[in-house]
Structures are given as C-alpha cells and as structure tokens.
C-alpha cells in the first residue's frame, strides 16, 4: 500500500493463466492507471473475460484455474496469502455483461455491499444510497421508488443500478465485462456517458466486443489475441494507427 498515491493502480507482470491444461493468458504485462478508462478488446475467446476476472480473483470460482506471475494492486500482489479476496473485491468492483441486480428493492441492492460488510448506521446508509445512485446517474429516475423491486427497472437502468451497487462500497477500480452488450443503443449511450463521468473518481477497465465502444469511451486500449496482449496504448493511436499488423487487421475487420 506504499505507493497508494501513485498513478498506477494495477501493474500486471508476466501473468500466465491456465484452465486445466489450456493456457488462456500468456505472459501479460500491463499497467492500469488511475482515472483512466482502459478498454480491453479482442476476438471472442481471446481471454478478455479471463483477464478481467483475474484482476479481482473472481476467476478462482472456476475450478482448475492456475496462474503464475504477479498482479500488483497498489503495490501488493493480489495472489499473496495476506490478500483476502473479500477485501480485494470490495476495493475492486465488478459490473457484468447482463445487468444482474438482486431481486430485491433498489434500496437493498445498493446497500447490499455496505450491509454485508457491517455498515449499520441508518444515516450513513442513506447517504451511501444517495451518493451511489447519484454517481450512477440513476438517482433522479428512482428516488421516488427506492423500495420497488429492481426488476421493475429497464435494462439500462438495471445496469446503472449494478454500477451504483458497485460504487456503494467505494471501490478504487471498477471492472466491467461487456456491460452494454445486453442493452439497446440508447441505454448503451447512457452507460457510456456514465463511464466517462466516473473516470474522474475511479479507474475503469472495460471489456468490450464493440470496437466502436472502445473508441468512444476509453483512454487506453489493450488488444488481446489468443491469450496474448498484442498491443496496448492510447486509444486514438490504436484506432487510427496501430503498430501491430494483427491489431490493424482486427481493427479494420479483416481479422481471421
């Protein structure tokens, strides 16, 4: 935690990952910066989800996964014995492909994290609720029906609720795995704007199938191919003038 104030949030060094005998990530080296949106793109099965799930060790829920290498999170290797997954995951929020609110009220959804982690003070909870929903640009739409079931919300609102839920435990980083692929274009646009506005407070890593989306919202883009990190750099450069032929081919849709 020594270099907490540093710009680098994640420093991934020589990360390899196997599912059983199949290697899904090969010697990944990447640095993820504070207050930046890092897009992760690549063809299906290239390891995008695997990579992002490794960052908060959600990957451990899959049996037979083995890793080597280091993922330094604020200077501490997340694979260290001293690092507890529960703690890591409160620091590193995650938003999934399909909006996955709990079938509870909006209120309960947002406060799930704080509650399971022992926040009991009513007023504090109320504050968390409000700030989280406001940060997720959802407050105005739901403030009059906080106790309605979350499934009454539209897909886009649900996804923003999931973001609010992740924000409620005040993470440093938010990981998103194709957060808009189940949404219509309008809801997608809203989420993209939200991501843009969140980056002043959080580091965001987002997996996306849509290069257009990566282009629109990210500062940095990482291109994965068959488990390798082929190119990583400023999004404008990756999209207008990638250095690697494979990136170029993928970007221009001439892949495969």
């Amino acid at each position: 935690m020594t270099n907490y104030e540093n710009k680098i949030v994640y420093d991934v060094k020589g990360l390899n990952l196997w599912y059983g005998n199949d290697q899904a990530l090969k010697d990944i080296n990447i640095k993820i910066n504070k207050n930046e949106v890092t897009a992760i793109i690549g063809p299906s099965g290239c390891g995008k989800s695997t990579f992002i799930k490794t960052l908060n060790r959600m990957i451990e829920n899959i049996p037979g996964v083995r890793t080597t290498g280091e993922i330094m999170y604020h200077g501490i290797n997340i694979f260290d014995k001293t690092m507890r997954v529960e703690e890591l995951r409160t620091r590193v929020g995650m938003v999934f492909q399909k909006p996955n609110p709990f079938p509870k009220s909006i209120y309960e959804n947002v406060l799930y994290g704080p509650k399971i982690h022992g926040v009991k003070d009513k007023q504090m909870l109320q504050e968390i609720l409000e700030t989280s929903l406001k940060s997720a640009a959802l407050w105005d739409e739901v403030k009059d029906r906080l106790h309605d079931n979350a499934y009454g919300l539209s897909g886009g609102q649900q996804q923003r609720l999931c973001i609010a839920r992740a924000l409620a435990v005040q993470p440093d980083v938010i990981l998103m795995d194709e957060p808009t692929s189940a949404l219509d274009p309008i809801a997608t646009a809203k989420i993209e704007e939200l991501i843009d506005s969140l980056k002043s407070d959080y580091s965001i890593s987002i997996v996306t199938h849509s290069m257009q989306q990566a282009g629109r919202i990210s500062d940095k883009t990482a291109f994965f191919l068959m488990g390798e990190l082929v190119e990583f750099g400023n999004t404008e450069m990756i999209f207008s003038n990638p250095r690697d032929k494979r990136t170029e081919d993928y970007i221009t849709g001439r892949f495969g």
């Binding site: 507890r84 529960e86 703690e87 409160t90 620091r91 994290g113 704080p114 982690h117 022992g118 926040v119 504090m124 504050e127 968390i128 700030t131 435990v169 005040q170």
Partner: protein, 307 residues
C-alpha cells in the same frame, strides 16, 4: 468525499476484523444432512438384502423364478413369476392408457391449445396427479370395475384390467406434464424456424418439437413405467390377490407390491420363509425400479440435444 473515505475505511476495517467461522461450519453441516439420503439407500439395501438372504438360504433362485406361488400352504412354493407377470401386465395396461393419452395431451397443451385453455387444463392435470393413489384404488374398485363388467361380462370383480386402466389414468398427468415440460422447453426459436418454412402445426409438433424433446419424453415414459411398477394401493385394492400364473387380464392377479402389502398386513410375523419372501420380492422390486431409473437417466443423457 469526507463520507466517502469514511465508508471506505469502515468497510475495509470490518473485513479485516471478520473471522470466517460460519463459512467453515456450514458446508460440513450440509454434508452431514446430505449423507442422510445415502444412509437411507444403504438402509433400504441392507434391510432388503439381509432378509432376502435368509429367504434365498431356504429357496433356490431356480424355485424363485418359477410359476408356482403358494407361500403359506403346507408345502409352500415361492415362484415369483406370477407376481412379475401381474406387475408387467398391469404396468403394460397402464402404459397403453397413459402413453397415447398423455403424449397427445402433452402435444395438445404444448402446441395446439390457446394459452387460456392451457392455463385452465394444466392445473387440473396437476390436481389429477396429486390425488392419492388410495383414491384411485377406491375409484377403480367402486366405479371402473363395475363399469367394465357391464362391457366385459366375463370380467372378474378383481382383475388386472381395471387397476391397470386406472393406474394409466393416474399416470396420464405425469406423462402429460413431463412430456409437456420437455416440449415446452424446446426453444420457441425452433418452432418459429419451422413455421417460417411453411410448416403446419402438426408438422412443427411431430417433426421438430417431438424429436427435440424426445429425451424428456422417453424419460417420462420410463419414469411412468417405474411408477406403475411401484404402484401399490390401486392394485392392492382392485386386482385382488390371486397368485395364478395367467395372461388373462380379466382375472385377478397379484403384483409384487400387492404381495408385499398382503404379507405385511397379513401374515408377516418375523422368521418364516414366507416372511422373508417379502424382502426377496421387495429386493426384486427395488432392482426393477432401479434399473428403470438408470434407463431413464441414460435416455435423458444419451438423447439430450443441446439447443
């Protein structure tokens, strides 16, 4: 931002302090609970085998699989074939009733009926499925048999036909419901695909939905057979206890389950060969249904089509 740091720290402190004892205890508790079912099976097998062992000490397998069954006569004989015969015949009749009606009902409900009709009929089927077998037994004995006797004068008051039919009726909801579930779980996309090619409803049903749901349907048949084999009260009440080896379904016959009930509620004092024969038959019945179940599982696995 003040508050932000506050929450952050509070949450992180709380995590740091927490011990995960409950998380360690719960799985063990659940494992112990889960093992009860295994113990039950072991209990069944041990119960059946130990007493069946006594039986087979007295009676050779050869005699066991013979047609003469007179367990209590002065010269008892324990040929089980009449029971197997009764079981198979009654199950066969049940299947002849249940499969065509059940399957066509399933096809109707899943593919042909309007949503309203379906919502009306499906619960009724569920009610039908939930009626205790003793009620069916009563029904078979007090209504179906007399009715059938009008149609078939040679029918005996206790016979296999009537309980077979009623068992079939009892199983219809099971076949219909399981088959309907299997057919309903065929994705609508497949139907749309077939309709989109100009198919009629019947073609969609028989050429696309049925083949796609065949594993579920077959499994429902096998489970239905298994249910018919294990069914007790209907046959106990309506098929009598004649131990003759005959294929005449207008006659009274005894099934394996009927035999067990007769003996436990009858002469099942412990110790005699007759008493042990009960367990031998029980064991056989257990094996029968076990095999059926294995078959059902095999079918569902083997024919499972992924969509």
């Amino acid at each position: 931002m003040e508050n932000k740091i506050d929450v952050r720290n509070q949450i992180r402190n709380n995590i740091g302090k927490r011990k995960n004892n409950v998380d360690k205890i719960m799985p063990r508790f659940f494992l112990i609970m889960a093992s009860v079912s295994v113990i039950t099976t072991i209990g069944i097998v041990v119960t059946l085998i130990t007493d069946a062992y006594h039986f087979f000490k007295e009676v050779s397998i050869f005699d066991f699989f013979s047609t003469k069954l007179s367990p209590l006569s002065a010269n008892p004989s324990f040929g089980i074939l009449p029971l197997i015969n009764g079981t198979i015949l009654s199950s066969l009749i049940a299947m002849l009733v249940a499969i065509p009606i059940g399957l066509t009902s399933a096809m109707y409900l899943s593919e042909f009926s309007s949503k309203r009709t379906r919502n009306f009929i499906k619960p009724i089927l569920e009610v039908l499925a939930g009626i205790p077998t003793i009620v069916y037994g009563f029904f078979a004995y007090s209504f179906v048999t007399p009715l059938l006797m009008k149609l078939i004068p040679s029918l005996e008051a206790k016979n296999v036909l009537s309980p077979g039919i009623v068992m079939g009726i009892m199983i219809i909801p099971m076949v219909a419901s399981l088959s309907e579930d299997a057919m309903k779980s065929v994705p609508n996309a497949l139907r749309e695909g077939a309709y989109g090619l100009g198919s009629t409803k019947l073609e969609v049903t028989t050429k696309v939905v049925l083949p796609a749901a065949i594993s579920g349907i077959m499994a429902s048949f096998v489970l239905a057979i298994s249910r018919a084999i294990g069914e007790t009260m209907i046959v106990a009440i309506a098929s009598g206890s004649s131990k003759n080896f005959t294929f005449d379904i207008t006659h009274s016959m005894q099934t394996m389950t009927g035999y067990i009930v007769e003996f436990t509620s009858g002469d099942a004092g412990s110790g005699t060969t007759g008493y042990y024969s009960l367990y031998a038959v029980g064991l056989l019945l257990f094996i029968f249904t076990f095999i059926m179940n294995i078959i059902a599982q095999y079918i569902s696995k083997k024919f499972r089509e992924e969509y």
